[in-house]
Symmetry: C2
């Protein structure tokens, strides 16, 4: 495991910390679609993502959902951080967007390392900062953009995350993540196709003009 840690976190953490992580952390691989955390779950370990992507979703009480943002390698879950400290339940749902590899760190180490390693503190602060900015970005999208712009942004995000110009989603899946209906998505996708920005197929979409 130590090599994957070094590759992804070597520029952030000093060797002593990397070694500690290596000793107490457990390596974990999850397949695409794996539900890593649900609303109401208690958190007992903190994930350090070394490869793949995780999507973070917000659920409301009526079963509606909304995509908040993606985590990629080098990221950790800010929600987890505070859940660890406060012993509170998760407010969000996390699903593996692609196959992913992580190192799970027991939460008891959080406080210890925060006192001991400046680089750890910076990492935690930096994670919070990134997540707050991503939330702001999500708010911008919902508040200021129309559905067709949100859709285009969503597709571009998918391409960026998967590094692949083909998005393997059905219209219904997209509708869930943008919290709208399938018909609306089909309508807008067809409009984007007519504009030459995408190509529609069954079960996947090719993004042409990024």
């Amino acid at each position: 495991m130590i090599q994957e840690l070094k590759d992804n976190y070597g520029h952030l953490f000093e060797d002593a910390l990397l070694n500690e992580i290596n000793q107490v952390g457990t390596f974990k691989e999850v397949p695409e679609g794996f539900k890593m955390m649900d609303v109401g779950d208690y958190v007992r370990a903190m994930p350090l993502l070394v490869s793949g992507a995780i999507k973070i979703l917000r659920d409301d009480s009526d079963g509606d959902e909304l995509l908040l943002y993606f985590l990629v390698k080098g990221d950790t879950c800010a929600m987890t951080l505070t859940c660890c400290i406060g012993q509170t339940k998760s407010e969000i749902r996390a699903i593996a967007e692609t196959d992913a590899k992580l190192v799970m760190v027991p939460i008891q180490k959080m406080e210890e390392w925060s006192a001991k390693y400046k680089s750890w503190r910076n990492f935690v602060f930096e994670s919070y900062h990134s997540r707050l900015n991503e939330m702001l970005d999500t708010i911008d999208s919902i508040a200021f953009l129309k559905m067709d712009e949100r859709l285009l942004k969503y597709l571009n995000e998918k391409v960026r995350i998967s590094k692949n110009a083909t998005v393997h989603s059905t219209h219904q899946e997209i509708a869930y993540e943008l919290h709208t209906s399938r018909v609306v998505i089909s309508r807008l996708l067809k409009k984007l196709e007519n504009l030459g920005k995408i190509e529609l197929h069954r079960n996947y979409i090719t993004i042409k003009d990024i």
Copy 2:
């Protein structure tokens, strides 16, 4: 100053830290409406709010705005925290919602206290946690609620923050903060008045059914 610090932060910080804050912090009073931070500003001090309320707004490039959340005593600005560390610009705008009193702490102390005081670390983590949850709440409102529900929630927030059942806002001001138009707000307010939930007057609104 030390007494106001003790009253508002005594349950959070140990005496040694309170004394340090007292020594390096500067006391500041701002009037209602005072612009405390704008998008693009650099941050050189961290505010600890001891009385009053601050509203945090998001601006988009077209001059549109949206209310994110309020800070009250015992709170600090999570954006400031990361701006301090990362030396990045503010992404948000902060306006005094009421007259407010704060203690400004030079940002150099951030790192020093994070290493030295567990209570400081917890405070910072806790602040991030609160702000993230407030952002989630904002997202819920925009994504899942209709405008009339958002308006009612907004009015209740105002009452809670000001501890006063009279909201001193024009319809136009409310429209800006909810990112909609004056006409829409007037329409919905009138509906709420007909339902007996509020009373409309020139320049203020009385909330009856909270």
